[in-house]
């Protein structure tokens, strides 16, 4: 079987608008990530710097 060509594979790709669930996944991931980094940074200060 011939090896698929990247250019052809990308050409086949169809534009799909972002679904509300994807938007939710992205927004919630980033917000949760930032919140957890802040909590962990604070915990790190308390546990390891004092």
């Amino acid at each position: 079987m011939p090896e698929p060509k990247l250019a052809e594979e990308l050409k086949k790709m169809q534009r799909e608008p972002l679904l509300p669930i994807e938007k939710k996944l992205i927004t919630r991931s980033i917000l949760l990530g930032l919140f957890l980094v802040a909590v962990l940074a604070w915990t790190s200060q308390v546990l390891f710097r004092n």
């Binding site: 060509k5 990308l10 169809q14 994807e22 992205i26 949760l32 980094v37 546990l47």
Partner: protein
């Protein structure tokens, strides 16, 4: 046909076997002292020597051959377990071993490797100050040359071109070394583990979401392409792209193409970031180590970047009068990378659930929790076993610490050899001609934009928040 063993499990078995042999040191034995080590040299005849003085009579060349025969036998048996053709593997491995080791010897030439404090003893007036880890860079460049300019040779040795197997074996062995390092500074080691948690948050929740959004919204990638691409750039390169591709039921070609790009850019990072870290972060060595783990993709490139960064930063710090203990910078890179790896299965499970329940629901399709275990990187178990065992022994019986250090020092000789083979084979698989392939532009632009415009800097910021001002212990006396 019966399915063979996975590379992950093979790495665990080989790593644990070498670790177990090194433990003879606790009982007065010396089962690995014949293994070859390389020193910084001005006369090549003095470059090689057996690891242990008990085997000094063997000489450097015989020690190199003994090491080769031992690894050839071990890995050819492993190749059989992987269902590879043993003879073809043995031929390829011979090339990989000697090309890697000769690169290491070349990189250990005093004018390249000697640090400023060693020049007088070696009788030289100048050197590049790169330490003998410069051999890793030479091995990478040699591999890049073979992979990109001698395609005939690279196709003849392809059975043995297994950077993931070599690095994972090296990481299992490294666990014991880091265990003994951690035992001497438990507070610092605990703080490093804690930083691993933050790396998980950054890679999975922040990096992934941003890369996915950029790929989907600004570059018009479909979900099938955007998800493996986001995992490849954000998490752990090849294995994450493949796990994600399978979780969202992408066609196999998608993660394979993403992976080929991941490997190329990981090599670019490996050649750049340790030197950037040396130039700007030599006063913050643990920030540099954690940064390598968070920013450099693929296990091989991340952990070996940590090794290079450690060598470069320790050399520069030594020139400024600070002799940092070895192991801490590499330990930070490895801890961060291993923590990130552990969650690949969980992340693939979460994505599989979201895709099957919310994005592309198919009647009757269920996601099995067992998939988390199936995708769990098994070499992490080997790493944890060696780390925890040595840490526990050293904490429970501090009187055994000198013996543990000596035993892990012998195992570490093999860690170095597995790393140098990782560098060489990483170079061979990095086919830069792919960058000129028609259609790669859009994929490469997303990659470059996200990696160099976002991930590297967020990784640096997070490493800075958690590690600035924390320094490895100094060598006393």
């Amino acid at each position: 046909m019966k399915k063979g063993m996975t590379e992950d499990w093979l790495a665990v078995y080989i790593g644990l076997l070498i670790f177990a042999l090194s433990l003879a040191g606790f009982f007065g034995g010396d089962l690995l002292g014949w293994a070859v080590t390389t020193s910084v040299w001005t006369s090549v005849s003095k470059a090689l020597a057996p690891a242990s003085k008990a085997y000094a009579a063997l000489g450097g060349v015989a020690s190199l051959l003994a090491t080769y025969v031992f690894l050839l036998a071990l890995l050819t048996l492993g190749a059989k377990a992987l269902r590879l053709e043993p003879l073809r593997f043995a031929k390829g491995f011979t090339f990989v071993f000697f090309a890697g080791y000769l690169s290491w010897i070349a990189g250990s030439w005093a004018y390249i490797a000697a640090t400023a404090d060693k020049r007088a003893a070696l009788g030289i007036g100048w050197s590049l100050n790169l330490t003998n880890e410069a051999g890793f860079i030479v091995a990478l460049l040699a591999g890049l040359f073979v992979g990109n300019f001698v395609p005939y040779a690279s196709s003849r040795i392809k059975e043995a071109i297994r950077p993931e197997l070599y690095v994972k074996t090296g990481i299992v062995i490294l666990g014991g070394m880091l265990g003994i390092t951690a035992a001497e500074q438990t507070a610092l080691a605990t703080s490093m583990m804690f930083h691993g948690l933050c790396a998980i948050v950054a890679a999975y929740l922040i990096y992934w979401a941003v890369v996915y959004y950029v790929a989907r919204q600004y570059f018009g990638f479909s979900r099938e392409w955007a998800a493996p691409l986001a995992s490849g750039i954000s998490i752990c390169g090849v294995s994450a792209a493949i796990a994600t591709g399978s979780a969202i039921k992408a066609r196999p070609v998608v993660p394979v193409m993403v992976s080929s790009l991941v490997v190329i850019f990981a090599v670019v990072e490996l050649l750049l970031l340790p030197f950037v870290a040396q130039a700007f972060l030599y006063r913050e060595p643990l920030v540099a180590g954690a940064w390598m783990g968070l920013a450099v993709k693929t296990d091989g490139a991340a952990v070996t970047s940590g090794a290079i960064a450690e060598a470069l930063i320790r050399a520069k710090a030594a020139a400024n009068g600070s002799l940092y203990q070895p192991g801490w910078i590499l330990g930070a890179s490895t801890t961060v990378k291993v923590f990130i790896d552990v969650f690949i299965g969980v992340w693939a499970f979460v994505l599989a659930w979201i895709w099957s329940a919310k994005i592309e629901p198919k009647p009757g399709e269920k996601v099995r929790a067992f998939e988390i275990w199936e995708r769990f990187p098994k070499f992490v178990l080997g790493y944890l076993a060696t780390f925890v065992l040595i840490l526990a022994v050293a904490v429970a019986a501090p009187v055994l610490i000198p013996k543990a250090k000596s035993a892990m020092g012998q195992a570490n000789v093999f860690r170095g050899i597995f790393f140098v083979m990782t560098f060489f084979t990483s170079g061979v698989v990095s086919d830069f001609r792919r960058l000129w392939e028609e259609g790669i532009g859009k994929l490469a632009v997303v990659y470059v934009l996200c990696l160099f415009g976002f991930i590297i800097w967020v990784g640096l910021a997070i490493s800075w928040i958690f590690f600035h001002g924390v320094r490895p212990p100094l060598i006393q006396g």
